[in-house]
Amino acid sequence: MLRLILYRLFYGLLTLFVVSLVVFAATQALPSDPAQAILGREAADPARLEALRRELNLDQPLALQYWSWLSGVLVLDFGTSLSGGMPVSELLGPRIQASLSLMLITAVIAAPIAMAIGAFAALRRDRRFDHSSSMVTLVLAAVPEFAVGIVAILLLSTGGLKLLPAVYAGSSTEVLSNPDQLVLPVLTLAIAVSPPIIRMMRASMIEVLESEYVQQARLKGLPERTVIWRHAAPNAIGPVAQVIALQLGWLAGGVVAIEFLFNFPGIGKALMDAIEARNLPVIQAVTLLIAAVYVLVNLVADVVGLAANPKVRVSSR
């Protein structure tokens, strides 16, 4: 088991390295001149173009450019933002916190509710609750999350009910002090991440409920409540934990459209602002960050999956 985990870790590191290559290649190594792309219409001024090239190290050979960028990244130095001249890490720090709060609140709220719905659907298998929850998850899983967010805005903040603010107003350092502004983004993200968790929980719970040890527990006359809570539920959670981890990874990328929609000051909004302003160092930092979170979470999901699988856990002790 330890060896498998080490192998995955090594592989994760390798993936991160390739990810950094892709980000770098997409932003700096393409045949198009990034300096020209950044300046856009102002590129006519050769002096400014030259200055920007020097600032981005574009006058050096590619390998050297990559090396100086990567060695900066390793010590969390992502360069300086092209608009405002702030260090990128300083600029992104509070935004990362804001996005993390958003993601954590979503996870803490969505995961237990989704698991409860899934488990309940399994207990009511092929009855009305099961059918309607399966239909609802199918529908909600299909709709892109920004559309869910807009429907939520239309229903809860602009239509007949003016309950909640439609967009976020405030800075990224005071996210938690405005709970009412968080409701819609969290609700939207929760709706977006829940369907796979519900489905997995249902499937896993059904499998466990049909197992021999649950049958045995029932046969020896245990009350149904004990059977479900002591024998069935704990064993059903393993595979679900993996799906929850994967969904958290998805959240890292999924927040982009939601933050844009609600004007929420997190990394997703930072990315969209940076794209708008052609702020290359910020684009690099945010995409690398999101991909890194995604890789790490997948790694964790892998390890959780391995640990939850008794065959793997026992065989290689």
Binding site: L30, L138, I150, L154, G249, F260, M272, T287
Partner: protein
């Protein structure tokens, strides 16, 4: 029906003795109510997207009245933020979205199927190379990869198709490889190998016909994703560019005036939602028919 069952009946279907057909996948899928509902929903939106441009009272870029008036004279649902007819823009806005979504999904499924087939059948260095490259590409969330490339290279339609198709292809390749692995062990493949049929013909004529069910399910799933991702890109301003009429872009442009002119947002959001829901219902019907388990969109 179990997977083994499918493979077995699939096996006899291509045996040289002559095809023994079980009820086709499409017919089995049609038995589910959700498939029918899905066809109706997706069909309605497709109809709007395809026939819309011919029915619209105004051109999508012409001024029809004062900006953001909900009851401009001569318009059905009022005008948008620059004074163009909302209803006409809605009718024009689906065609591009639907066509590039279907195109990128098709390209992704074809490309992924070829890669997965080669990887699953040859099982050599090509397999390693394809699948490891795949794993690396999977490390990027689809939307973020698209944003990264589009922000640097500029939002262009062909680029969107290529990026979305690529990110589909590596996911389809995984599924195809799994399906191929189950078929390569069958006797009819072994016998074809024994009599010296070229490998490309074994892949095309022996294996491919037996993995059409999962591929069809994948196609449905990929179309659902494509519509969602491309609409999201347009919504983020990284897809089709103004003044094109496009559902995603309309949502982006109309959302600031959502209280005075809600139609400019409600119509395209409804269309995108209904289309993806319909496509996912069809996909679910297909997947139930092919392997008997749920496999709708997973994010």
């Amino acid at each position: 029906m179990s997977t083994a069952d499918t493979a077995r009946t699939g096996g006899t279907a291509t045996a040289p003795a002559g095809p023994v057909r079980r009820p086709g996948l499409l017919r089995t899928a049609w038995r589910y109510h959700r498939t029918k509902i899905g066809v109706v929903l997706a069909g309605a939106v497709l109809l709007v997207a395809v026939a819309g441009p011919f029915l619209s009272p105004f051109s999508p870029t012409e001024m029809a009245g004062l900006p953001n008036s909900a009851d401009a004279e001569g318009t059905l649902l009022g005008t948008d933020e620059v004074g163009r007819d909302v209803f006409s823009r809605f009718l024009h806005g689906g065609y591009t979205l639907v066509s590039i979504a279907v195109l990128s999904a098709l390209a992704g499924v074809v490309g992924g199927a070829v890669l997965g087939l080669v990887a699953g059948y040859l099982r050599n260095w090509a397999d390693e190379l394809i699948m490891r490259t795949n794993d690396m590409l999977l490390a990027f969330p689809q939307l973020v990869l698209a944003l990264l490339l589009l922000s640097i290279l500029g939002p262009q339609v062909w680029l969107i198709v290529v990026i979305i198709a690529l990110s589909h292809a590596n996911r389809v390749a995984r599924v195809t490889r799994e399906a191929t692995l189950k078929v390569v062990e069958q006797d009819f493949v072994k016998s074809a190998e024994a009599i010296g049929v070229p490998r490309w013909r074994i892949m095309a004529a022996e294996i491919l016909p037996n993995i059409t069910s999962p591929l069809l399910v994948e196609l449905g799933l990929r179309i659902t994703y494509s519509v969602g991702t491309i609409a999201t890109l347009s919504f983020l301003g990284m897809g089709l560019q103004p003044p094109t009429a496009d559902w995603g872009l309309m949502i982006n442009e109309g959302r600031t005036a959502i209280t005075i002119q809600p139609w400019a947002v409600v119509l395209p959001v409804a269309a995108v939602a209904v289309l993806t829901i319909g496509a996912n219902l069809i996909t679910d019907g297909l997947s139930r028919a092919s392997i008997g388990i749920d496999r709708g969109v997973e994010k």
